[in-house]
Amino acid sequence: VTLPGWKRNNLTYRIVNHTPDMSKKDVDKAVEKAFEVWSSVTPLVFSRIHEGIADIMIAFGTKAHGHCPRYFDGPLGILAHAFPPGIGFGGDVHFDEDEDWTAGSAGFNLFLVAAHEFGHALGLSHSNDQRALMFPNYAYVSLSEFPLSPDDISGIQSIYGSPSNAPDKRPPTPASPKACGSHMSFNAITTLRREVIFLKGRHLWRVYPDNLGVERELISTFWPTVSPGIEAAYENNKDQILFFKGNRFWVVSGYRVLLGYPKSINTLGFPKGVKKIDAAVCNKNTGKTDFFIGDKYWRFDENSQSMEKGYPRQTVKDFPGINQKVDAVFQQKGLFYFFHGSKQWEFDPTTKKVIREIKSNSWFNC
């Protein structure tokens, strides 16, 4: 890394010229998405300007280009270069126009190369980890995958820190909650294939129902770009988990956080007035997901990816016995488990009855 990096978190960029290999719209999109890769794991905010000097000036050129002290070498070889944070050329990014720039897997994918070069423009040097975006050689990776490796993330966060949304700010060394405490409550719970994952603050517990083992981990160990303090989570019918915090949500598939997330919950069909989700569960039998917010719930059709009409409805009317705000909920073996504070209710959706009330941490073999 090049310390101290940029001294401001709000940085500007300007696309000085476009490559004729791609449409202007695709170039703009590739650049914007490449910045999003880094802004999703740092407090950095990037805004585009169309005139004047930006912190990061982006240009396409061939051989000796402008006043740049570094030359390009024609097709292949060197694809692009960038300068570390600073004035003058500092932060500037140049692409070799002699390459074949594309939005896909043919030639060289502009988004991937731009994301790599922006890493330099922000102060990262090359990584010798072949899985890292900052590895010097070009390699095409599926665009649905988040391109940063743990090495990239720890590098950039060593300069700028992690995302600093106000709700994420918490004491520097929070005590880890004890799963067997008598007042244990959870922020969110979801299934993950055969496991059940309980989330609270920065931690998660993995419970294997047919096994006595319980594992506690930091959420960031599995999904470094997902904020701590997740408020709701559920497993959909596409082997993905959706994590919710405030008005944003992430979609993960295995250890991968899908590109383009977090997104606003409004994209799911919630009106602007809905600021957060308390709990969510996808009913595996019906393919419908219920989102619990306060004393009401909304129903989302996973197949049509749309919110059902006639909602929100009172939770207690359709789930008799669930009188309190729902902290977390998940489904297992056909039954729903609703959580509030240190209690949970086992609910049979067929008979619409609470079967029993138990302690929230009954799953931990305490």
Partner: protein
């Protein structure tokens, strides 16, 4: 005209290696040694010598960086790595 593809290829490879190492494995900047240092290997010769690393040393550094077998020689694996399209920013030194 007689053709010597092997010789040409060797020349090409030598040029590739030299260009690659000059671009990406140039001398690391050291604020305490401004490019020159006292030749202390022979105290009677109080001359100066350049601080440049040998091609072998640079090759070793490159091979180490890419996780290749560190031979200090431009073997096939190393040449293949050098031919791959890449970013123009050096891997060591000069960047900061």
């Amino acid at each position: 005209v007689p053709v010597h593809p092997e010789n040409d290829s060797q020349e090409d490879n030598a040029k590739l290696v030299q260009d690659y190492l000059n671009k990406f494995y140039a001398v690391e900047s050291d604020p305490n040694q401004l490019g020159l240092k006292i030749n202390v290997s022979d105290p009677k010769k109080l001359g100066w010598k350049t601080n440049a690393e040998s091609t072998t040393q640079k090759l070793q550094k490159m091979q180490q960086f890419f996780g290749l077998k560190v031979t200090g020689k431009p073997d096939t694996e190393t040449l293949e790595m050098m031919k791959k399209p890449r970013c123009g920013v050096p891997d060591v030194g000069l960047y900061g």
